[in-house]
Amino acid sequence: MTEQHTLVVERLVLGYGDRVVIDGLDLVIPTGRITAIVGANACGKSTLLRSMSRLLTPRGGSVLLDGKQIHKMPPKQLAQTLGLLPQSPIAPEGITVSDLVGRGRHPHQGIFSRWSTDDDAAVAAALEATGILDLAERSVDELSGGQRQRVWIAMALAQQTDLLLLDEPTTFLDVNHQVEVLDLLTDLNRARGTTVVMVLHDLNLAARYADNLVAIADGAVHAAGPAAEVLTEDCVRAVFGLDSRVIVDPTSGAPLMLPIGKHHVQA
């Protein structure tokens, strides 16, 4: 098991230009669990995730890792504990898979320090965990979307952080690969105790895979807790402005949201 780290958000205020996106948000990330953040488009969920990994400086309030403000921590030190996979990372042209995964070792290396056996072992473990060993020497350009997403997750794994934040890790993937990525993150969480925090678009997959579901609306947390408590018809109406039915998913036992639109609804 990994060390027990705590990640807490206190009265956080975030914005771009004149616009305040997050206004006085409080959130406690349960250690060693999977948290999924959901909300309508442009509700600030990605903004929140970026601020939780030091990419955006808060206007007010703070993000505390083990009680210390992350915006005042040395960036490399933070990057050894907390990793983030942004929404659209860029693969340099022609780079090989193992080279790209090796970039995840950056926070563990000094300016001129040599590559160590630890670094090689971390890369090998990340390649194995994500099932891309056979792709190791291929060029990232040649890979499919699903394979590429695994490569990026492998890079984040090579960083060997106890907390891993992911911004919509399943976008642009078909349903099979979405499930694969979420299974992979669950494996990681169960085997290593890695705390996973991800922004997800698909409410039903979020409800199934998250131990802790956080619904964001109006710049604050509308509801947070186990999916069965959070994902209700009232909550969907408040957060997305959508009428729905929530039933029990016969496959997983998690709540399953069925949207009620204008058409195709039986009386």
């Binding site: 990372p89 042209e93 970039r103 300016i111 890369v123 090998a124 169960r190």
Partner: protein, 363 residues
């Protein structure tokens, strides 16, 4: 893609504890070393080529001097004829070729890497043109000495960088917008250079070609020394940011998440790269397309991954040396180095624009 079964046990398995795991780690290490070996080989070959062409350009000219004569001159001994021709004419010229080439190669690839676009080279986006206009103005109009000219050029280079960056800033800097604005600024500055040259009473053709296309004609030690100092001071600063710079290629957010201080890195890298370009330009003029060509050539040679700073610097030095040598002796009449590199660079620029229009392209 086949639906690979994920291995739930693997994240915990300590790979170094069993034989299969150790083999895996060894394989990863072997592949990494193989990638590094190609880079190293290319750098050694390039360095050897630079040294060889340097030596040849000291030996060959209107009078041929043997390697032994050149060696004696380099040791500071008096050799009749050679001491003047090699020591006073050819040596400063060849040294400036290498030093300016290193500066252009480093500065060019730094901008191309940082902005993730081969068109974003300082000689395309106006920085060389700014340094050149300032240097021409300082020499032709103000009659300043070499150190003052360098200072003038570096300030102008930084101001142009700032202006181009500022004009293209709209809640973030998009590469294409910056490049187009830079091309416009470069055109304005080039006409400014022409104006300065035509306004001066005593301007001669040699001076004019230096500030318009770059030339090593009449290179002397007082011109060369500031470039060498710039390399010795700014070069190591830039190289110390090499790994951070490579990491920013993954995108600003990814780099920041990996612990890179993105803004600090960008600032340090811009100031050092502009400094190198400006010092070299103040001495040799904006030698056409060397900054632009060196990075992509180095990238082809060393293959993907890894920092291109040193390979690109060596390519730059080789380009300037070879182009200057060819410009002096390969054709019926003598051409300044910038004309030769211009002829090499222009087709590549056209090809790149065609290709990037098709695919959106990156370095």
């Amino acid at each position: 893609m086949t639906s690979n079964a994920l291995r739930p046990s693997s994240p915990t398995s300590d790979l170094t504890s069993d034989a299969a795991g150790r083999r895996l780690v060894d394989e990863v290490a072997r592949n990494r070393i193989r990638r590094g070996r190609r880079r190293r080989t290319v750098m050694i070959v390039l360095a050897a080529a630079v040294a060889a062409v340097f030596l040849v350009s000291l030996m060959v000219g209107q009078t041929f001097y043997s390697p032994l004569d050149v060696w004696h001159v380099l040791l500071g001994e008096q050799v009749p004829g050679a001491s003047f021709t090699v020591g006073r004419l050819r040596l400063p010229r060849a040294t400036l070729a290498i030093a300016a080439g290193l500066c252009f190669g480093l500065g060019g690839v730094t901008f191309q890497t940082m902005l993730r676009n081969p068109l974003a080279s300082p000689d395309i986006i106006g920085i060389s043109a700014g340094a050149s206009a300032a240097a021409a103005f300082a020499i032709v109009t103000l009659s300043l000495d070499d150190a003052e000219v360098s200072a003038f050029a570096i300030v102008a280079g930084l101001v142009v960088a700032l202006v181009v960056y500022g004009l293209s800033y709209r809640g973030g800097v998009a590469g294409t917008r910056l490049i187009l604005i830079g091309i416009g600024v470069a055109a304005m500055l080039e006409s400014l250079t022409t104006w300065v040259l035509s306004g001066a009473a005593q301007w001669d053709l040699q001076e004019a070609t230096r500030w318009l296309t770059g030339s090593l004609n009449g290179a002397s030690w007082p011109q060369v020394i500031p470039v060498l100092i710039a390399l010795a001071v700014l070069g190591p600063v830039l190289l110390s940011r090499s790994r951070d710079l490579s990491t920013t290629q993954l995108g600003d957010d990814t780099a920041a998440a990996l612990g890179v201080r993105v803004n600090v890195t960008r600032l340090v890298v811009i100031v050092t790269a502009v400094g190198l370009i400006s010092f070299a330009t103040a001495a040799a003029g904006p030698i056409a397309f060397v900054a632009f060509l060196s990075g992509p050539i180095a990238a082809r040679l060393v293959g993907p991954g890894g920092s291109l700073l040193i390979p690109s610097a060596l390519v730059g030095a080789l380009l300037v040396l070879v182009a200057d040598f060819a410009g002096q002796y390969a054709f019926g009449s003598r051409f300044p180095v910038g004309v030769v590199t211009g002829v090499l660079g222009a087709p590549y620029l056209i090809w790149l624009i065609i290709r990037s229009n098709r695919s959106g392209g990156s370095l």
